[in-house]
Structures are given as structure tokens and as C-alpha cells.
């Protein structure tokens, strides 16, 4: 077993050397495409952070003062529920202080100063309101009405805060996903072609191997391994790129004024680590698939 493993590894390295140019091209292409895939994830997550408080068609948020009396809170709720022709009462949601605090962790991910000022005790709780009307004026007048209620700290409208961002997010998502899919396909094809070339370069050897009774898998494994390593190498490079990119972005965002909302566009390290693992897996699988297909297609007797 060890002997077979060492044989496969030796052949893989030898083949990689023989085909340096093509191998490097395959690695770079997979690195670029995977970097784009990773960036797509990052951008997505950043926009998600920004939009998390508006998720699920929420059109208006009524913030309630942290020191509100239970009576005032009940009054606000009752007031909201008394408007079934403008507000989708079933979707009305109340986030208490703890839930609001958890949400703020994401909204202010890139703004540690603001975050440090917040605590479960001092944060406003909130009603998430889903309007049934599409008339912005109606929603706006409703908001003005609620601002005057006792215990209400403020009212935010989705229209003011995120319509542009939401549209932008959708556009960026479509473009980056499309581009990364195309590049990923290119990477797979390049790896496939590299392996085909490697097989062609060794066709005499393969012919002899078949005649002396080497099994198909024995012949195939070094080639599949080669493609897998190319994909993985590309993924490792892309992880480095992604790390550097996120670092530069995070420190860049820190330069913006607090409260502009841009600070939400920061993605914390743990999520980035998750993306990197995903990239390694995607890279290895793409490489393995490309070389696997090539080796079963071109190694037939």
C-alpha cells in the first residue's frame, strides 16, 4: 500500500514538472476563479449584515425606548395591530432587548466603538413592521403618527435606508456569481486539458502499463491526484488573496465615519475562515472532477 502511494506521488510530481507551464496556468485560473467565488460570498455576507434588520419585507421599524413602561409598550403594540388594512399584522414581529442586541452585533460588525456603547440594557427594542400597502406616502404618514406615541424612540423606513443598497446588492450578486461560475468552468476545463496533455505525454508508458497488467485505477490515480492538487493549490492561493482582501477592506471601512452604515459591510474573521474552507473543498473537487473525467475519457484501451 505504502509502495503504491509513493509510486502515485512520485508520478504526480514528475508529471507536474514535465508540464510546468500548463500546470501553472491551471493553478492561476483556479485561484482567480475561486478568489471571485470567495469575494462573492464576502460581498453577499456584507450586504446581508447591512440588510439583516430589514429581512422579510420589513418596511418600517419602530424603535422602543429601553426604559419603556409595560403599559406604553402594550399601547404601541395595540396601535400597530389596529391598522390591519395598512400593516400585515400576522407578520408583525417584536424583538426584545436581547434579540435586538444580537442583531446589532451584525449591523455594527465593523464599528466596534458603537458596539461597545451598546448593552442589552441600553439598547432599544423594536417592532418590525411589514406594510401591506405599496404607497410610500401612506407608510410615511403612519411613521409620523407612531413617532409621537409615548415610549417610541424613533421610526426608520426601509425606503430611506436600503432600497438603493438592496438593488445594488442584487446586481452585484448576479454579476459576481455569474463571473465566478464562468471562471470556475474555465478552471475545470484547463485542468482537464492539462491532464489530457499529461496523459498524451505518457501514452507509451501507459500502453506498457496496460500490457503488463496494471489496473486502470493504478494508472489513473496519479493523474487524478495531479488535477486535485492543481485545484487545491489554486484554492490555497485564493485563500491568501481573500484574507488580504478582507483585511484591506476592514481597515479601509474603519476610516469611514461611524453611523454611515458602511461599517456594517465588514465580515468577521470566523465567517471568512468558513469561506476559505469552502474554497479549499471547491478547488479540490473541481480539480478532481476535471482530471477524473479526463483520465477516464483518455485512458480507455
Amino acid at each position: 500500500m505504502m509502495q503504491r502511494l509513493s509510486y502515485a506521488l512520485r508520478e504526480t510530481i514528475a508529471s507536474f514538472r514535465r508540464n510546468v507551464t500548463l500546470s501553472v496556468a491551471a493553478v492561476i485560473t483556479s485561484a482567480v476563479s475561486l478568489l471571485l467565488v470567495g469575494t462573492t460570498f464576502l460581498i453577499q455576507r456584507a450586504f446581508d449584515n447591512l440588510l439583516v434588520q430589514w429581512r422579510g419585507d420589513v418596511g418600517m421599524i419602530v424603535f422602543v425606548r429601553p426604559d419603556v413602561t409595560p403599559e406604553a409598550l402594550a399601547f404601541i403594540k395595540q396601535n400597530l395591530e389596529s391598522q390591519p388594512n395598512v400593516i400585515d399584522v400576522k407578520k408583525l414581529e417584536y424583538l426584545d432587548k436581547a434579540q435586538s442586541y444580537a442583531e446589532a452585533q451584525r449591523v455594527f460588525a465593523g464599528d466596534p466603538t458603537t458596539l461597545s456603547l451598546l448593552s442589552v440594557d441600553t439598547i432599544p427594542s423594536q417592532f418590525k413592521v411589514v406594510p401591506t400597502t405599496t404607497d410610500p406616502e401612506l407608510v410615511r404618514s403612519l411613521a409620523n403618527q407612531y413617532r409621537t406615541l409615548p415610549g417610541v424612540a424613533g421610526v426608520s423606513l426601509a425606503e430611506d435606508e436600503f432600497d438603493v443598497i438592496s438593488t445594488l446588492s442584487g446586481f452585484v450578486r448576479t454579476v459576481t456569481i455569474g463571473m465566478s461560475l464562468v471562471l470556475l468552468a474555465v478552471a475545470v476545463i484547463l485542468i482537464w486539458n492539462t491532464i489530457r496533455t499529461a496523459i498524451f505525454a505518457r501514452r507509451r508508458e501507459i500502453e506498457v502499463m496496460k500490457l503488463v497488467g496494471a489496473t486502470d485505477w493504478f494508472i489513473r490515480v496519479p493523474f487524478i491526484l495531479e488535477g486535485l492538487i492543481q485545484g487545491l493549490a489554486g484554492a490555497i492561493v485564493s485563500c491568501g488573496g481573500l484574507w488580504a482582501l478582507n483585511r484591506a477592506w476592514t481597515s479601509g471601512v474603519a476610516g469611514f465615519k461611524a453611523g454611515t452604515g458602511v461599517s456594517s459591510l465588514v465580515v468577521p474573521g470566523s465567517y471568512v475562515n468558513g469561506i476559505m474552507i469552502a474554497l479549499l473543498v471547491i478547488g479540490a473537487v473541481a480539480g478532481g472532477v476535471g482530471s477524473g473525467v479526463a483520465s477516464s475519457k483518455f485512458l480507455d484501451v
Partner: protein, 225 residues
């Protein structure tokens, strides 16, 4: 050891390369397949090691119908056969020792077995002392000896040789025939395709003659004609 039953093989839709061929080769026999170029000699060999499958008929090797064998079994069938070719098919970037060792390595033989069997077989073919040469540093006859060593190192039951003396001068060819004869006397069945009438006439073994894919003669202790 080898049995063909009414075997026909076509390439494309044109005249068959082999038509209705039947013969039986007992264990330990030495058989010449003779005939002009294109008469189907090589095709018969390729049918025996299952590089080709016949359109009709059955090929039996060591008691097994190889046309009914699963593809995954073919490597194990091939381990019981050695192949020798007119153009040697040596790997030019490997030494004599490595070329022979390669045949054992790729079927997963452990290192100590390789270290023991390769020098033995190189000694048998008369190449002791040339282990570290590369194929281009050897004469044609020596290269063919390496190829025979590679075919025989795993002690196969059958040796298939396709024009092994085709590229060699008569004296060198004679040496190769002596070697094949020696291997045959160890009990290895040999089927050799050739159109070299000198070696056939000198050896006086069974001769199967093909003409445009048809067996026209099957003679014990025959000559080329």
C-alpha cells in the same frame, strides 16, 4: 492453454481481418503464426491478450473465456502473459533495470521481490552488467532482450511475440530465437507472429499460416514455405 473457436474480427465493415479462425495451443507449445503483412497475424495476438474483441467466436485462455471477462479482470489476465514487439516498446527515459522493474512495480510487487527477480531475468537474457544503460545505448538485439526480460520477469504462462526479429539482422535474430527457445523450455507457451522464413525453418515448430485472415495451414514441425 489458448483456444480459438470460430473467431472473426472485422475492422470497420470491410473484409474481415480474421475469419472463422479455430485452433488450440496446448501448454508449453511453441507456435509460429506466419503470413504476409496484413494477413491477420497481429490481430490474432491482439485477440489473445484482449486488446481486441472478436465480432464472432470465443477466445479461451487458461480455461477462461476472455470475451466474457469483466473489464476489471483484464489486468489480471494480462499478468499471465508477456508481450514482445518488433519495436521493443521500451521506455527511453528509464534504464534497463528500471524498464524491467517497471513491469513488476505497476502490478504492485514489493521492492524486495523486484530487487531479486530483475537481476535474475537480466542474467537469463544475457544483459548482466548493463543494468544502468539506457535503451539508446544498446544495440537492437540488446533492446529486444530487455523487452523479453520485461515480458518474462513475472514468469507468465504465455509469451506473445509480434515480429520480434523483424528489426534485427539474421545473426542477432538467431540469438533472440535461442532465448525464446530457452524460455519455451521452462514450460512457457509461446505464440510468435513472423514473416521471417529463416527462423521458422530453423526452429521446426508448429506453423499456422494465414492468408487474408483465413487459416490456410496448421502443421506440426512445419516450415515457412
Amino acid at each position: 492453454m489458448i483456444r480459438l473457436e470460430n473467431v472473426s474480427k472485422m475492422y470497420g465493415t470491410e473484409i474481415p481481418a480474421v475469419r472463422d479462425a479455430s485452433f488450440d495451443v496446448p501448454k508449453g507449445e511453441f507456435v509460429f503464426l506466419v503470413g504476409q503483412s496484413g494477413s491477420g497475424k497481429s490481430t490474432l495476438l491482439r485477440l489473445i491478450n484482449r486488446q481486441e474483441r472478436p465480432e464472432r467466436g470465443n477466445v479461451w485462455v487458461a480455461g477462461r473465456n476472455i470475451n466474457e471477462m469483466a473489464n476489471s479482470q483484464i489486468p489480471y489476465l494480462r499478468r499471465s502473459m508477456g508481450n514482445v514487439f518488433q519495436d521493443y516498446k521500451l521506455l527511453t527515459n528509464k534504464t534497463v533495470f528500471e524498464n524491467v522493474a517497471f513491469a513488476l512495480e505497476v502490478i504492485g510487487k514489493p521492492k524486495h521481490v523486484i530487487g531479486q527477480q530483475v537481476p535474475q531475468v537480466l542474467d537469463l537474457v544475457g544483459l548482466s552488467g548493463k543494468e544502468d544503460r539506457f535503451p539508446h545505448q544498446l544495440s537492437g538485439g540488446e533492446q529486444q532482450r530487455v523487452s523479453i526480460a520485461r515480458a518474462f520477469v513475472n514468469r507468465p504462462l504465455i509469451l506473445l511475440a509480434d515480429e520480434p526479429t523483424g528489426n534485427l539482422d539474421p545473426a542477432t535474430g538467431e540469438g533472440i530465437m535461442g532465448l525464446l527457445d530457452a524460455i519455451n523450455r521452462t514450460g512457457t507457451t509461446i505464440v510468435m507472429a513472423t514473416h521471417d522464413h529463416r527462423v521458422v525453418n530453423a526452429m521446426r515448430r508448429r506453423v499456422i499460416q494465414l492468408d487474408r485472415g483465413v487459416i490456410v495451414r496448421d502443421q506440426e514441425r512445419g516450415v515457412y514455405e
